[in-house]
Amino acid sequence: MARSALRRLMAEYKQLTLNPPEGIIAGPINEENFFEWEAMITGPEGTCFEGGVFSAKLTFPPDYPLAPPKMQFTCEMYHPNIYPDGRVCISILHAPGEDPMGYECSSERWSPVQSVEKILLSVISMLAEPNVESGANVDAAKMWREDRDQFNRIADHLVRKSLGLPDTFSKV
């Protein structure tokens, strides 16, 4: 099983290296362990996360692509669908059987025809449009609904942080 997972991951790695969607980089942190990847995703334009490059860790199960990988942001994130510890709660990362939130329909779930690329694209679209019904981060969800300005400020702070730009820049 692990052999076919490896082959599949290798193929996806090649695909993502040669022909990645814009603003996305993903690959194994160390090829000694092909089941642990790093992914860099750029915050979508026109959103509060615009321009930020966020790093995340993808952990693949040995029976990938039958089972979905796990994704966890390694940088600081504040988003209704991301747990405070960075874990991403999105339907594409859930196998059809599990439904922790009880709101997903199985057609959006993980299946072997999905891929790392699809996951990352989904996460980007999730950054743009949070699903407030899924309360991975209840505070963030509440703030998104009730105090968007404050949310945007926090997001901007995170963008700067991800780019290694100090928060205390003075605007000209």
Partner: protein
């Protein structure tokens, strides 16, 4: 009579060839229509097809003539015989043992037209109809006497007495053989009628290039036999009537039929074997079973290898879901290895049109999403051309790939940083 052969106990003591061991039943029949000389046959094919086609029409005419003219007339015999010669059925009468007193013929059976050929020499009636449809009953050659398998002796007797010039014809073998041996007489009605019986030896042959083309095969249909007869240039039937014999007072029907069989076999120069029609049918069934078995075995082998191939193809598909399955199967047939097929596809040795997979968008993202990701990225593409993170090549070693990954990662962050600073007017 020689009784040195153990198997001759069933009445197969033909004087000459009985010294040889009994031939196997397979040798009594042609298993294949065309044993060899396929090239010659191919050359003849166009001519043969035209000839056969023309002869079909002549066949109808012959059929009409046989219907119109009275069965016992001499003119009919001559006309039909001439027409049959055009049809490629040449009858040669070898010994003219014409005996008007004889009311019963028994003949060996080598083709489906034996009775027609004999009918040309002397009008006769075949008291059985097995698998030939009544439409082809040329000039009322057949007549049903209660049961076709074993006609009623009493009605046969009354038929002989009522008809003056018509003879009854029996094929006591009840099955067609290739003429290399005589089968056992299983139809006994010709010997039960208490009238003189005339044995008729029929030899059918084809001239030189078509000598090996069998007249009838083991399980051929009458239709196929007829078509081949019309296709071939000609088929010669040598018909020889033996002197009539009567059943002795002390003789049983069984003994009498054996005596006639030996006479006939001697005349034909072949061996009288104990094989019966039932055994021929057994042989047909056995060969059919064997053929089926071979067929099934090869099918099973095919299915097994196919199953394995499908299994491997699924493995490849798991790795490369957008490669069409038929492309994978095709390549697997060449490589027979999951790994090499995958590397061939990745390396571009195998070209394919990617299958359309249901995309994330098509599956419907969370309901509150308004802007599809593709559009998002399109707008990003217009402005942020620098966010292209693709590598020019995929390194062959882990080291190269790792390096490329890091370079691209650094470049992405750098570009993003530049962009951010430009947009927000930040100075470092």
């Amino acid at each position: 009579m020689s009784s040195d052969d153990a198997s001759s106990s069933r009445g197969t003591q033909a004087p000459g060839p009985s010294a040889n061991p009994l031939p196997s039943i397979d040798t009594l029949f042609h298993l294949e229509r065309i044993p060899n000389q396929l090239t010659l046959l191919c050359l003849y094919m166009p001519l043969g097809v035209v000839l056969g086609f023309l002869r079909v029409f002549i066949c109808f005419h012959t059929f009409l003539v046989t219907l119109l003219l009275p069965k016992t007339s001499v003119i009919r015999c001559y006309i039909v015989r001439a027409m049959c010669t055009i049809l490629g059925l040449v009858v040669i009468e070898e010994e003219k043992n014409r005996d008007p007193e004889v009311k019963v013929f028994v003949a060996n059976h080598v083709s489906i037209v034996d009775h027609w050929m004999l009918d040309l020499l002397q009008p006769c009636v075949l008291p059985s109809v097995w698998d030939i449809p009544c439409v082809l009953n040329w000039g009322h050659i057949y007549k049903s006497f209660s049961s076709p398998q074993e006609p009623n002796v009493v009605s046969l007797k009354s038929f002989i007495q009522s008809q003056q010039n018509v003879t009854l014809l029996g094929f006591p073998e009840a099955a067609i053989s290739n003429g290399t041996a005589l089968m056992r007489f299983t139809q006994t009605w010709p010997f039960e009628l208490d009238v003189p019986v005339q044995a008729v030896a029929i030899k059918a042959s084809r001239s030189s290039p078509f000598r090996d083309l069998s007249i009838a095969t083991l399980d051929s249909s009458w239709f196929a036999d007829l078509v081949w007869l019309l296709f071939c240039p000609w088929t010669t039937f040598h018909i020889c009537r033996l002197p009539a014999v009567s059943r002795g007072r002390e003789e049983t029907v069984e003994e009498f039929s054996q005596r006639v069989a030996e006479m006939l076999a001697a005349q034909l120069g072949v061996r009288a074997t104990p094989y019966t029609k039932a055994e021929k049918q057994e042989l047909v069934k056995r060969l059919h079973r064997e053929r089926l078995q071979v067929h099934r075995r090869s099918q099973e082998a095919n299915a097994r290898s196919n199953l394995y191939l499908v299994h491997m193809a699924n493995q490849v598909k798991e790795v490369l879901p957008d490669v069409p399955l038929h492309v994978i199967m095709q390549d697997l047939q060449e490589t027979n290895s999951v790994d090499s097929t995958i590397s061939r596809i990745i390396d571009g040795v195998v070209s394919y049109i990617p299958e359309k997979r249901p995309t994330v968008e098509a599956r419907g993202e969370p309901s509150n999403q308004t802007m599809p990701i593709q559009e998002l990225l399109k707008t990003a593409k217009d402005v942020q051309v620098t966010f292209n993170t693709s590598a020019s090549s995929f390194g062959s070693t882990a080291q190269e790939r790792f390096q490329s990954y890091h370079e691209r990662k650094t470049r992405l962050i750098e570009n993003a940083r530049m962009k951010y600073i430009q947009k927000h007017g930040i100075k470092i």
